[in-house]
Point group: C2
Chain length 388, copies 2
């Protein structure tokens, strides 16, 4: 044991001497931030002896304004929240006006061009987001050929526990991200693998394959994962909502159905997406009627089209009616009461009502947030592939 | 286009109002950091109008001391390095004594309990680390049953381009991390998937499966990926070098050979590891002689054993001689001239020489660094599965 400890100390010393960035570790090793108390309050801590003002900012405060942290004599700043509802929260510190990450919390997620610290307050719905002692599915990052986009593209695939061990065929759920996202978004911010593992273990969801493509057809892959190298991600990309994603979606289905043991029929295909991904799901399911029996629109963008840019968007009313006439089992729409897309979704629901289309509408509190999208994923997934 | 832009702006405003952490993006959107110039110098930038002193620290400086950055009138601090050799570098800013990440660089890697910004200066050997327009392998995160450790454990598996499309059987390379690492380390800091993709595309490496297990048998998975939740990673874990990893390694081989199309014989198995993983590779290959024809020790820890803690470490000389007597095709040792483990490796080489064991020894500049381990991976991988 002593020898091992000596080895570890040597190793550290050596790494530090070579600038391998473990200095924070030494300085901060006694600091826990955030600390989750039994009452589900969180205590945040930052060692910053020279700072004049340190603030905490994040969705866990329930407001966008930051709150001041308190300094102790040794230079340790801290702040304890009131007890929080179970949730995956993100936060930052602001030190004398400069927004920084919490060096004591290695759990971080990239959201478009920002990296945020995250923390899960357990219990309730957030238990679905935790890694539990249940059978785990496999998460793969693969590359598929997209002839429609003339490139190889990266895709995330979740296969359920048992997939590799049996010979069964599985249903497939295509799950699409929003603007600024990519094939990593639903796994990182959406906790899809954990949610599926947990719902399947509880018998609440049918074992299924979840396919998370990159909806930005101008991209081959998430930032840093393609040959463009390390560039600064941006929210706005070319060809995101001009029909190209929808027109080339069959490249994805073809790849999945050619490479996985799937039930390749409409009764065993689902598609859903958030925001721009809701827009894509709406149009893909309409443009290819009788392809998906399950459609989910999570806070969907509903674009008005004065002039259509692609055959995908033409004859909207007729093709929408055709989609419903040909039959599907679930058309699910979820949106938050304060979402900036609320009115356009309400208008779209009117259109659906006028055509006599049947759908399930689920209105939640809150707005255009990952908190809602995780909720919608949990709700929607439990309804998939169960109808006769 | 205008509608799409309006949508993007709406989306942003909404996200910000809800504390979704994109404020940095707005404030910093014109700032590029680091910027790679044509001469391979890097310019780092940080907007910090209130800071009194901003420094840059990182292995790219060639020294552990930080250098001062220069402030412009608008509060933008910057520093330009001299032209740098191609490499994957890591760095931090130090703002009035507080070490922080670069908010304009989303490319970050966790190294034990620290998260560091990284940047790849392209060209030369670093071209192996880049994602190129070549066929890409698949990276999967799976869970396997380890009866020896009485738990399910997470494992990273790289399958080469074409694996899913043909019926061929592939050789397998088991690649082990060092102390403080886990099943993510070789992929993140080691750039294993990129290196393999590129070497295979160039015809320099035989297409192979690379298996990256978690060498900390007390852990089921990397921090945040198991049911322990979000805790602070530590360098030192129980049962890392007490024989348990070696004793239970057959659980991993059994899983891989039962789940992948592999050539399941000694001529098509390789094992290598860095530091603690070199220690593991040394002992696993010795404890199970004639199992691996290719063995790589990258800056290996060579522990002196006064009192052995496991049957794995008993009869060291005899079993080592037995391993070589039974035959293998490559026993490769790489270490840096300034590595703190240099002397113990020199002693080990003497022991090998005394027993008449044949091995390849590769001495590099530098020390106990990922830069060296990536080099060793590139060198070692090209020698695998090529000997008759």
């Amino acid at each position: 044991m002593i020898k091992k400890l000596v080895f570890a100390i040597f190793l550290f010393t050596s790494l530090n001497a070579q600038g391998q960035e473990n200095l924070n570790f030494n300085k901060n090793k006694e600091i826990t931030s955030p600390e989750i108390s039994v009452d589900n309050s969180l205590t945040f801590r930052l060692m910053a002896p020279n700072a004049k003002k340190v603030e905490l900012q994040g969705d866990l405060l329930g407001k966008s304004d930051p709150v001041a942290m308190t300094k102790q004599n040794d230079g340790l700043w801290s702040y304890t929240t009131s007890p929080l509802k179970p949730e995956l929260y993100s936060y930052s510190f602001i030190v004398d006006g400069l927004k920084i990450r919490d060096a004591n919390n290695v759990y971080q997620i990239r959201d478009v061009a920002s990296v945020v610290n995250v923390v899960i307050v357990p219990g309730g719905k957030a238990d679905n987001y935790l890694v539990k002692d249940v059978p785990h599915g496999t998460v793969s990052k693969r590359w598929y050929k997209s002839p429609g986009n003339e490139k190889d593209r990266r895709i995330s695939v979740y296969t359920p526990p048992g997939y590799e061990d049996d010979k069964k065929k599985y249903p497939v759920f295509y799950l699409l991200h929003g603007m600024g996202g990519d094939e990593e978004a639903w796994l990182a911010l959406g906790r899809t693998a954990q949610i599926l593992d947990n719902l399947i273990a509880q018998g609440k969801a049918t074992p299924m394959i979840v396919v998370m493509p990159n909806g930005n057809v101008a991209q081959a892959a998430a930032p840093g994962e393609d040959s463009k190298g390390q560039y600064k991600p941006t929210m706005q990309l070319p060809n995101t909502m001009d029909g190209k994603m929808e027109e080339t979606f069959m490249d994805i289905i073809k790849f999945i159905e050619g490479n996985y043991r799937v039930k390749a029929d409409h009764a065993h295909r689902a598609i859903a997406g958030l925001s721009m991904g809701g827009f894509h799901s709406l149009h893909i399911s309409r443009f290819y009627p009788k392809t998906f029996d399950y459609v989910g629109l999570f806070s969907p963008a509903i674009m008005p089209f004065g002039k259509t840019t692609s055959p995908v968007y033409e004859n909207f009313e007729v093709t929408l009616k055709n989609q419903f006439d040909k039959g599907l089992k679930l058309y699910w729409i979820g949106i938050g009461k304060t979402d900036f897309l609320y009115k356009s979704v309400a208008d779209y629901r009117k259109k659906l009502d006028e055509t006599g289309a049947k759908y399930i509408y689920s209105e939640s509190e809150g707005g255009h947030t990952w908190s809602n999208w995780r909720d919608y994923l949990v709700l929607f997934t439990q309804q998939l592939f169960k109808k006769p």
